[in-house]
Subunit: 438 residues, 4 copies
């Protein structure tokens, strides 16, 4: 990658997260010669896009950076000639997320927007749009790297890997957040702690942790079992049982709670929904407030309030990837990448989340010793669901969609799956053209 | 196997099923030179043992068979010099089964005695006893074949394979029942229909079916989806959804309902429990009636009433194995056997249920093409539970037991698992000495 | 398979082996309702075809069998409506075999017609012709079973499996000969000895042997090491080293000598070539004598002299397959079949030679426990050669052909491989149209 | 690894290569706080050890480094408290190497000291000594890292991994030399070229090469095929065939010539042996000259003449590892490491040579996509030989040793293997105590 002048395209540029990215770019001016940022969004997001573009321009101006910031509603213009394409959009917006979170609750099922069956609906809506974008990239920026933050990130990245030729890496802020929380527990610098990750997006495990070369996996597990803070802003922090963790022997991510503490998580979701509406509804309020802030002509930096939105470390997670690729740093990051034999129970072309070396030829996963069978079988079961969902989304195959939900450990029951599916298809009708003629 | 005079030991000889075995032996006098049948049971089963022994003697006399029938409370006497050891006992009797079925219902979990968490409790009680028996066989009849019917048959057979040197095959009447039901649906002779089985005990799939060399898998699936009778006497026949079956592409066994139709199965269990008590309670009544019948000196054959008890085809299933081994028939039967690479996601030493060739060197499984990922991942998940349960049962390891339940797709939730486990350990205290000092 | 009237097509019907097949058919009249035998051959084999057809008719007449015997030079006529198609031809005839055996000797390489690089040349000539036949079968007899004896049988069967939809089983008389020799060594009935086979055609191992249920693998190995007869008529019987066999732990087939006793085998080939000409030359004499015999109008049965030709047990090996398929016997035979995971280091679609159950839906291999690594790696290396050869043969790819020879453990050296390949391509020019334009 | 004061023990400190290591240490004073270097050797190497120690002291003095240099004939003293143990000795010295190289030539087999059967003899002598050293490290420096350069490095590292608890990484200068030669061919900085390595020591392949993110594998292959310099000082540079390389598709290491160009390599070895004696004999002369140089009190740096000895880049290869471990750099180096699933046809605990991330918890291999079958099968075959050799060396098992040689692609023939083995055992009698009582 010899380009001395980088163009970054941000699809879903009107997102409230965009200032995170911009901050990350500005902080890396010395190592990343970004000269153009093009923000694009759909017609419905025009107003937000304008607010964000203006804020971005103010941020760039304040940093005295030599970067041209532009906006467009024509996605192809944004993509053309880009070196990096960032995707962070939400098909159907927060209204769709409201439905994603609400529908499953009707059937006593987890209504979470990625891990729960809300994530299933989101995948059906998102995958066709992402693949359309890939068609554009293949044509207009065939050497570009697509960094995908769009959730459910593992599923979406798998669809891109299987159904396009675009060079892509999927990423998520969960692993880096775990790194931060774990180093806080151990009272050490994050960089002193080497944790090996393997699993799927939002179902990733730390299989071993080393502090200055000494294994501390058991120590960490004990702290997690003793109630140390080990969660994300956006999910409920049900404490972990110490006996269970000890038997497990590897460290679960915060989202594992949905699988292992389903009842408490569901109860909390239902209560919270009753009291405060869905999380989407809460986010709408936060977003509205954020955009009010963003509009202020005096604001020329990322406001603190954004951090409360839940996307901690996204800035670093994403720009570190850009840096590692552009400068061929061969750093280790935890990303969503082609399995290539790392998790033996999955096909080589399944996308997994694991520690990988990132350089200018992309992400190469680190090998891991065989996972405990009870870890690998959960990963495998969820991956079955994911593979079926990708297929259902791409082909608009309703039977595959049913089988996907019946395979999901958090749905399982066929009758529930049928009702859920019908409800999802009906309420998302406008966003699921692939299912129309089937 | 050149023995011209076979001794068969029946452990749990006082079981109401024993007349099935005896009938099977008597029907095969031409090919099987059985000369001695020794029935053994524990002290508490003495009365039943005497009734069964007397009935057996009347059956043998009626058949004019040259067979000595004996009974003993000393298990070692029965085993000494045996060619075949049949196990069909229930540690704790039907009272224990009542508890197994009742406890899970308190936590809204399937209370089935094999697939449900009832089967977990049964495994904890049974495995140590079976391994004790194995010690006796290793010493007193090292060349004997142990045919294990004791449930949960897959788990118990895996424990024997891993923790003893006894030659063993596990078996169950589900596959043969599926064969019978499927041939009825297709209106053909059972022998004309070749079905390939692979999976676990009570989680076995027919991956393909051929009628006279023509594939009929899809045809069969359609019939099952159209509501053809495809169930066992002892489980509720919730109909299957045709769309789901079509997407599945392989034929589930009746017990798959617990995984895929959990809500309906649980609802039925709870209703039935409320109205009629647990299935164990119902069986107690049947058993009492059966033993009344068995006592009658005029009875000298297996009474029809036994068939309603639920063990259809047990006689054939088991004696066909004895025949195939003794006469080196190399017939194909569906049994529980060492995996040896057949199901790729499982260790070689996991016990699976599949089509196998049975001859005088035991059971050799037939290879199968890769199963669909969503089939293999369910098998894999349940096998994780089974491996943890075997380890917990052998070592009395409470943490492993907790992890086992949290891994079981029908339990999952840690809090539920903890309550269930505590309840099971407390109510089975007398039968779980291995957990005492832990 | 309900056909009550079977048609058998024999491609290469003019072969001197055909009376073997006819004898097999006539011996099985009670179980196999063969009503039509159609022999076909190419123009160049017309005279032989006529001789064989006449002999066949005399044999049928003598047996008073209700079978119509016909001959044709139009292969499609023979195939049309056939239930079984037997292939046993030699592209280029014995003259080509002479070259196959002679060329490698020039380069100090084994000149054997299957295992040696002679087999490589034969594969290049044969595979395109076999695939042409498959096109005819797909069109004219889509339900027929093709039983392939044409050497190199493993390679040819793999080509059929990968590049056609024809139902096929490959077979060879080596495994049945090993069975016969081993039972002679142990002085038992062949049927009393259960041997488990796994490997490739002419590189098959007996991984375990059981006599009446008792393992006798070590015993057999010792006898082979002590110089017991364990070879085939057509290969030199260099004795095995006892220490080596003991370390090996599994029983090699006679052809393993080419890999493990290369120098002695090569020396013998070179000496024999000098003294008596190539084996093909010797066979020509035998064949000429045989056809003289066959011409005699008084001959109405398979003459004893045929046995000395080297194809012991071909009759049984092949007709037993026809019987097992037609009558759905589910017998165990050792055949060439799709791997399906049996040998873990090979792709699922590689063709292996192993014990398999044969019924009306074809051959299902028996699973085997992991082979010793040093056994699996030799199989794997030879299979690499085979896969490359199939590809080279199908696509006429000269570079792949070079890589194939350089991969063959009996060639290896690139310079030798280049010379060999050039020589083979030049001398077989007439039979390798696929290489012309490349 | 927080030690601020490192001790390095060099076993075989009297080696002529030691100045390489010392230079590497002195060049890294800023990043590596080495405070003690202890050189140890056996009694027979006392004189050389003294010469090297004195030279080392002069080098340290010149560099004004704060490092205590000591020497001892008591290995345990050297090991006690060491942070890094470097091994670079030769059991039996160059005299043994003379025999290793000469014996195989008698049997027309490659007499190379690592890849050829010379390496087999060396492994038998070396492995028991290395494991003795490991016992000392386990006791006296349990946290030390052992960096093993002792050849055959892959075999020796596998023995350490399997039969000790010592933390170890094996390394070799071939991969780094390939990196240098390849970057020269492409006229780029070595660091701009990303090559992915996988295979075994002296049988390692570059599966892909990227220059500034663009794949250049084919380009490199063409240059190698066009005769670009791509060899090591110590092996004959037979040119590669371009057609063969093109079919291969991956880049072989210089030592692959022994497998693919056996005849030319053997011819050259035999000619060179006749004209100049074995390579060991030539090295003896070089060594004598080197030690004459080393003795000169005026010499206080690594002399240029050492480079001609053949160990290019050893200094960098080894000290870069020390640096990566001590400073937790997570750099990528190509090392010998536990397979952990990277090469699918090998056991997890086989030692492979591949790209790995090196940090303070050791080496973690990078995953690779499935290798071409013909590459994996050669690796697998050679690994079979290696596994058998390790076992033979550890247990003094003569039958396993025979099987090992018969498995080696460059020996193969049993009779040759027997003669070779007898010759090796006889001529190495003094160094193979483990074979005495067997």
């Amino acid at each position: 990658m010899t380009a001395q002048s980088l163009k970054i395209a941000v699809i879903g540029g009107g997102s409230s997260y965009t200032p995170e990215l911009i901050e990350g770019i500005l902080l890396r001016q010395d190592s990343l010669p970004v000269r153009e940022i093009c923000l694009t969004d759909i017609e419905a997001g025009k107003e937000k896009l304008e607010i964000i573009t203006a804020l971005t321009q103010r941020m760039v101006a304040k940093a005295k950076a030599d970067i041209v910031v532009s906006q467009t509603l024509d996605r192809r213009k944004a993509i053309k000639g880009a070196d990096f394409v960032m995707t962070q959009f939400r098909v159907g917006g927060l209204k769709a997320r409201q439905r994603d979170e609400a529908i499953p609750l009707k059937y006593n099922r987890i209504g979470q927007e990625t891990t729960g069956s809300g994530g299933f609906a989101k995948a059906l809506r998102t995958i066709p749009v992402v693949l359309d974008i890939c068609r554009d990239i293949e044509e207009l920026a065939p050497n570009a790297w697509m960094l995908n933050f769009t959730n459910p990130a593992g599923l979406v990245t798998e669809a891109i890997q299987k159904y396009s030729n675009v060079k892509t890496i999927g990423l998520c802020n969960v692993p880096v957040s775990m790194q931060m929380m774990a180093s806080e527990m151990l009272d050490c610098e994050p960089s002193a702690l080497q944790m090996k990750y393997a699993g799927l997006n939002h179902l990733v495990w730390v299989t071993s942790a080393y502090l200055n070369g000494r294994e501390v996996t058991k120590e960490l597990l004990e702290k997690v079992g003793d109630g140390a803070n080990f969660s994300m802003k956006n999910i409920f922090e049900e404490p972990w049982d110490a006996d269970f963790l000890n038997a497990l022997g590897v460290i679960p991510c915060p989202y594992h709670r949905y699988y292992y503490q389903t009842e408490a998580m569901l109860a909390e979701e239902q209560l919270s929904f009753k009291e405060k509406g869905s999380r989407a509804t809460q986010v709408m309020t936060t977003e509205a407030a954020l955009f009010e802030l963003y509009k202020q002509a005096s604001l020329d930096s990322k406001p603190k309030e954004l951090e409360e939105r839940g996307g901690a470390y996204y800035s670093d997670a994403s720009l570190n990837l850009v840096d590692a690729i552009h400068n061929n740093r061969n750093d280790i990051h935890v990303v969503n990448v082609r399995n290539a034999g790392v998790i033996r129970a999955l096909p080589d072309d399944a996308v997994i989340e694991c520690s990988a070396v990132i350089g200018n030829n992309g992400a190469t996963p680190l090998a891991v010793d065989p996972l405990p069978h009870f870890v690998e079988s959960l990963i495998s079961r969820v991956k079955s669901y994911e593979m079926l969902t990708v297929e259902a989304a791409v082909y608009g195959d309703k039977e595959k969609a049913l089988l996907a939900l019946a395979t999901h450990p958090l749905v399982g029951d066929i009758q529930v799956a049928k009702s859920l599916l019908d409800d999802i298809l009906e309420q998302n009708e406008d966003h699921l053209p692939q299912f129309v003629s089937h």
